[in-house]
Each structure stands twice: as C-alpha cells, then as structure tokens.
C-alpha cells in the first residue's frame, strides 16, 4: 500500500482544495464536488486483501485533514471526506475510522464550534458517524509496527489548508502587551530611581529597548501586513474595499469580521450566529445565500497606512477573541504608541 500513499494524498487534497475554493462548509457543496470527481470510484478495482489495506490507508489519510492545524473549513471538509469514504467503501466488511484518544478533545471542541455556529450539517454528519459506529476508539491514529517508512516524504500538507491566523495571537495579545507595558514602566521607574537624574539618559545602561512594547506591536502588525499581501488577491480586494465604502466605523468593523469569519468558518457563520436564538432555518442552497462579505473586484483604492494599521489591529484582536466584544480592541488601539516611530520603522524595513 505504501506506493499508493502519494496518490491518495493528492486525491484527498484535490477534493479538499476544490471544496475550499467554494468557500463553503455545506455538505451539499461537498457532495456535488464528490460526484463531479467520481470520488466513489477510488475504491473500484481494489479487492480482497488489497481492498482492505486500501480502505485503511485512505481513511487514515483523510483523518489527518479533520484535525488541526488545518483551518475550520478544511476540517469540515475532512469530516465530510471521512463520512463519504466510510459510506462508499466497497468491501463487504466495513473498515472503521480510527480516532486516537489524544485527538478526541479536539474533535469534541470541533463539534462544539460547529454547534455554536449552527453548522447543522457538519454536526449531523459527525453524530451520524457516531451513530453508525464508524469509529474505532484507539490509542494511536495508525497501527504501528516500528517500521521506519522507506523514503519518507515529509508531510507537506497543503499550506493553503492551514489555519494560519491562529498561532501568533495566541502568543501576543492585549493581555500580554499590557502586562509587558506595565512591567516595562515599572522597570524604567525603578531604574530611574536608582540613578541620579543626570545619568538617566545614559544609554550604556539600557539593557532592553526603550520602546519595546510599541516595537513588538509594530513587528506583529508588519507581519500581518506581509502575510496579507502574500495572501490571495481576494483578500486584498476585500481589504481595500473596506476603506472606500461606508465611513461608519461600526459597519466597517462588522464587515471586516464577516470577511475574516467567512475565511475561517465558511459563509454561514455570521448569519447563524445572529439568529442563534431564533428558530433556525438552514439554507442548504449554499453560496448565493451566504451573507459573507463577497470580494468585489473594483478599483483598488488603498486606504491610508494609518487606516490599514488600525484595521489590522482589529484583525488580530478579533481572531483571538472571537466571542468577546470591542473592549480588547479599544484597549489595544488606545495603547500609547509612538506613531512616528512605527512609521519610520516601517519605512526602514521596506
């Protein structure tokens, strides 16, 4: 089976890539792609022992996409892929999907996120798999026999599938910046109390950078800028569409949030959140109904650096504190920053 590994991975990534292009988390959308690709055929021609080994291989491969570090949308796709593969396998005796104990908490968190965002179909598919007893509850994701894989191909999972927004905000957030700023102020005060006034300006005892917090923040912002520039044109269009439209701050932010979410959670998230307490009407007819911010390919009118910087701060705070209100945002933006210095730094870095 080793010599099918690459092909199986390529096929899985192709179907998930096409699912990602649709910018959706609907099962209906996934099923359409599945039929277009004739994906059920993947089992055809593998019979008996070979067939059994093949089912094992492809289920184990697909399982990987159901877990972090992939984005929520890819993980939904991974779940649908597992379900579809499980249902369409052609062997008389079905093979189960192996789920490892260490991954279970992540799976439950995924379920909770899907419930909170009212992705009814994703929740249904997951619970359906449980109902069908499609899982083996295992120690490890695959069978292990101390066999070093020959010519190991380093797992180069499609970089586009990754949830890239998630890591940096986990490390650098408002709390950290505030804390750091406090410590820094205390340190400076302490230092100045030790030295007589004339020596305060002596830079030879400056062990850490004087403007550490603003600099850290600006570095993070620079990183986000760079990444966004690197990101798809779609994102760029979204970004610049921002500044041109309505001048109202709140609606601007709402749309920004929507666009971020549509990337992270697929289009249905925003709508379902707002109607979480109402009777739910699930719209299965996918994309056109999606309330997400659609990219508009109009004249690219770049907003000022200041505006863009501000927008990016929103992005940072929004991603790490999805549920909370605007408090963090305002706290972060109201930090005393030396804007002139940020500007000069950025100029230098260019």
């Amino acid at each position: 089976m080793e010599n099918y590994r690459e092909q199986v991975k390529a096929d899985c990534e192709q179907i998930l890539g096409r699912f990602q292009e649709k910018d959706s988390v609907r099962f209906q959308v996934f099923a359409t792609i599945w039929r277009e690709m004739n994906f059920s055929h993947i089992f055809y021609g593998a019979v008996k022992r070979e067939g059994r080994a093949f089912v094992r291989l492809i289920l184990d491969t697909a399982y990987g996409y159901f877990l972090p570090p992939f984005s929520f949308q890819i993980r939904v796709g991974g779940l649908y892929l597992l379900y579809s593969l499980y249902q369409c396998q052609t062997n008389a005796r079905r093979k189960q999907i192996r789920v490892a104990l260490k991954d279970w908490d992540v799976v439950k968190k995924f379920e909770k996120d899907a419930v909170d965002a009212q992705h009814v179909d994703a929740v249904y598919i997951l619970r359906r798999l449980m109902f069908l007893k499609a899982f083996h509850f295992t120690a490890m994701p695959t069978l292990l026999d101390y066999q070093k894989r020959r010519n190991v191909v380093k797992s180069t999972f499609c970089e586009n599938f990754m949830d890239r927004s998630s890591h940096l905000p986990e490390i650098i957030n408002t709390e950290l910046l505030e804390e750091l700023s406090n410590v820094h102020t205390m340190y400076t005060e302490l230092k100045s109390s030790v030295f007589p006034p004339p020596q305060q300006t002596d830079s030879s005892v400056d062990l850490i950078h004087r403007d550490m917090v603003p600099q850290l923040l600006s570095t993070v912002k620079d990183f986000y800028k760079w990444r966004q520039r690197k990101d798809t044109r779609t994102a760029e269009a979204k970004d610049s569409g921002e500044g041109t439209s309505s001048g109202q701050e709140s609606s601007k932010r709402a749309r920004l949030i929507a666009s971020i979410k549509s990337k992270a959670y697929g289009e249905a998230a925003e709508a379902s959140k707002s109607r979480r307490h109402r009777q739910v009407e699930v719209n299965f007819s996918s994309s056109e109904a999606g309330p997400s911010f659609k990219p508009v390919y109009t004249r690219i009118n770049r907003p000022s650096l200041k505006a863009r910087t501000k927008d990016n701060v929103h992005i940072i705070s929004k991603v790490w504190k999805d549920a909370t209100g605007t408090t963090n945002v305002s706290r972060l933006t109201s930090l005393e920053l030396d804007r002139a210095e940020i500007k000069s730094l950025r100029e230098n870095s260019k």
């Binding site: 010599n3 099918y4 092909q7 199986v8 390529a10 099962f27 209906q28 099923a31 599945w34 039929r35 690709m37 004739n38 994906f39 059920s40 055929h41 993947i42 055809y44 021609g45 593998a46 019979v47 008996k48 022992r49 059994r52 492809i58 579809s84 249902q87 369409c88 005796r93 189960q96 490892a100 104990l101 260490k102 908490d105 009212q118 009814v120 179909d121 929740v123 249904y124 619970r127 359906r128 449980m130 109902f131 007893k133 083996h136 509850f137 295992t138 120690a139 490890m140 069978l143 292990l144 026999d145 101390y146 066999q147 070093k148 894989r149 009777q279 739910v280 009407e281 699930v282 299965f284």
Partner: protein
C-alpha cells in the same frame, strides 16, 4: 522507575502520544488508557448495540433546535444517495478500475494491474489464505452470555516475529498477528505463540524411530519470559520452570544498567501492562529462542469484532514459510534428518517419514546399516 511512574496520577500520562512520530508511542498503562476513553464517551458510544434510528433523529432535532421539515431535508442532503457516482438503475462493477480514470489513485492502480496482467500471475496461496483467515475472524457468535466479549473492553493487536535468524526475510518480517482482549494474561499470549523450537525433539533416534515424537521441547523446557518496559514477566506455572530473568537482572545490575524488575506472567493481564504501542519487546523461550513482540494497536472493542470471547486469542495474520521437502519423493515435508548415512545422497539429508522407514529399516523394523537419525520439525509446521 516503572513503579514511580505508576504512582503518577496525572491523567495525561495515559493519553498515548508519539515518542517517535509514526513509529512508536510513549509508554502508557493500558487499563488507565481504557478508562480515559470510557470517561470521555457515552456508554452508547462503545456499546455493541445500535441506537434506534428514529430516536437518533429526534434527539438530534431537539438538541439542535431544528424543525421536522429541516430534519427531513438534512437527512436527504446527507444521505448516501447524494454521493452516488453512477446512475441509479445501474450497478457498477466495483472489482475493476473504471475506464479513463482521472483520480491519481486510480491511474496508479490501473498501471499496476496492467503490469500484473502482463506477468500472468494468478492469485497466490498467501492471498487465498489471508481471505480464509479474514472469514474466520468474522463469525462465531457466542453461545452463552458468559462467552460474550464485554462492551468497553480493550482489544490489543500483537505481532510476534519469528527469530531473527531468518535473515533473508528483511523486507517482509515474518510474523503472526493475534487479537487479544485486555483480560487475557501474558501466559495466554505465550500459549498462543507457535514456534517450531517448542516442537523440536532432542536426541538421536535411529534405533527407536517410534519413540521419537513423545517428548517435545515444550514439555521438557517450560521456562519462558516476556520483557516489557523494564519488567521481566516469568512463567511460573510449572514447578520445572526456572527463573531465566535473574541472570540478566544481575548482569545488568553489575554493569550499572537501569534496574529491571520481575513479575509473574500468569498473574499479569494485558490491561495491567505498561507499554509503548509500536515498540519492540521480547519473548524468550527454550533458553535462547528469542522473538520480538510488538503491540501494534490498542483500542476499545467494536460491534464488528468477533464477539465470542472463546475464540480469542484470534489469529489474524500468519506468515507462510516455504517448507523443506523429502529428498527422495520431493512431495512430503521432511520429518527426519540423517547424518553419517551411507544410504543418503547428501549429509545431512532430509526424509519424510515414509521414505525414511522404507529406506532405512527392513520389514521387521531392523536398522539397515549405520546412520544417525534426528527428528526434524519444519519451520512451516504451523502453516
């Protein structure tokens, strides 16, 4: 060291994770691992019984707050029908690769099948035999409630490798795979391991060929041990059993190795073990016949498992070894090995029982000429 970490109450230590990615896990206690799973799941999740379909639907609708109509629509959208890649009234032949495949996997499979067809190889015996084993593992409904595999039990897949002297099999390391439940003891694992060295008959029997098969090594030399995570598990079921591990433990102590400890094989259930999945451990018997033992999988039981407890340990894979045939008839498997034998074409020489007796004894059973005869047990004896 083993004792110290057993005391560790931190539950995460028994959530297995990789020690080396895709190769083996860190050590964990099997029963604690099982409890971690049971703690996280609802009894229905590990039950061998199915929930009622309507109950499932009703619970889901209520939980998610969806109407009956939405529920019906949801079921239709998520049905297997929506994944069908062929017209409804046509049943495709799933045994062949469809024409003009576009999926990379199918292109590869077609290539391989075309190549194989060009070689004109028919299905080999191994495939046939594997299918046979597969069938065996399915059936066997328990007759009594007591024979039923309990829900929430763990199943371990254990590979036992043939002694390393089979140097030529480097690619496919020959082994047997067994399924065992957590309540089995290591002694039961030992009894399930078939090794030809247990069947060897020691001694020269040219004078009394009828005596030979009565004593086999398994009965003569009963000592054996398993080695898992710094612990030697000795078989002490019979008074003749000797503690083979003490020598090693003392040897290791004298050389400043980490301390090893001892335990009793027949008192140790598999759930009591602390082990790494995927890691090679040792089974030693007949003094120096050493087998690698790898637990390749530990998981909760599933409704599709063989639910008859009596059929475990369950053999799910067996490597077939080519047998050595009689030098005279080339038909039957060798049973006797002779040396210093003037009647034989080679020295040593292998004979089946029939040819051996016809050539070496007269009608009254008298030995003809000088030779030495030893009982021979083929490696493929368990095929």
């Amino acid at each position: 060291m083993a004792a110290a970490s057993k005391q560790n109450t931190d539950s995460t230590v028994n959530i297995p994770d990789y020690e080396e990615t895709n190769v083996n896990s860190k050590p964990f206690h099997v029963d604690s691992f099982r409890n971690e799973w049971l703690r996280r799941l609802k009894p229905g999740d590990w039950s061998h019984q199915h929930e009622d379909e309507d109950t499932f639907d009703a619970n889901f609708a209520e939980d998610m707050g969806v109407s009956a109509e939405t529920m019906a629509e949801l079921k239709a959208v998520c049905s297997v029908d929506s994944l069908r890649c062929h017209p409804k009234d046509q049943q495709p032949d799933t045994d062949v690769v469809p024409p003009d495949p576009r999926l990379s996997t199918l292109i590869q499979r077609k290539k391989k099948q075309d190549y194989r067809a060009s070689l004109k190889i028919t299905k080999n015996r191994h495939d046939l035999y594997a299918d046979e084993l597969e069938r065996l593992t399915v059936g066997g409904q328990p007759e009594t409630e007591e024979d039923k595999l309990p829900e929430g039990e763990v199943i371990l897949t254990i590979n036992v490798y043939y002694p390393a002297s089979f140097a030529k099999f480097n690619y496919i390391r020959p082994h047997t795979s067994l399924l065992m439940t957590g309540s089995h003891t290591l002694a039961e694992l030992r009894d399930a391991i078939c090794c030809v060295s247990d069947l060897q008959v020691l001694g020269e029997f040219s004078g009394t060929p009828d005596m030979a098969p009565d004593f086999i090594s398994k009965e003569l030399y009963k000592s054996a041990f398993f080695f898992f995570e710094g612990v030697f598990y000795n078989d002490t079921r019979f008074p003749e059993c000797k503690d083979m591990s003490m020598t090693i433990i003392e040897w290791a102590k004298a050389r400043n190795f980490p301390p090893y400890s001892q335990a009793v094989m027949e008192d140790t259930r598999l759930v009591d073990l602390k082990l790494k999945v995927g890691f090679p451990y040792l089974y030693c018997h007949q003094g120096d016949c050493e087998h690698l033992v790898i637990v390749t999988d530990v998981r909760l039981t599933h409704e599709t498992d063989c639910l008859n407890k009596k059929l475990y340990p369950l053999l799910i894979h067996k490597h077939r070894i080519s047998t050595q045939k009689c030098a005279v008839c080339h038909v039957f498997i060798g049973r006797w090995l002779t040396t210093k034998d003037r009647l034989a074409p080679s020295d040593p020489c292998l004979f089946c029982d029939k040819c051996f007796r016809m050539l070496h004894y007269d009608a009254e059973g008298n030995k003809l000429g000088d030779f030495l005869a030893y009982s021979f047990v083929d490696r493929g004896a368990f095929n």
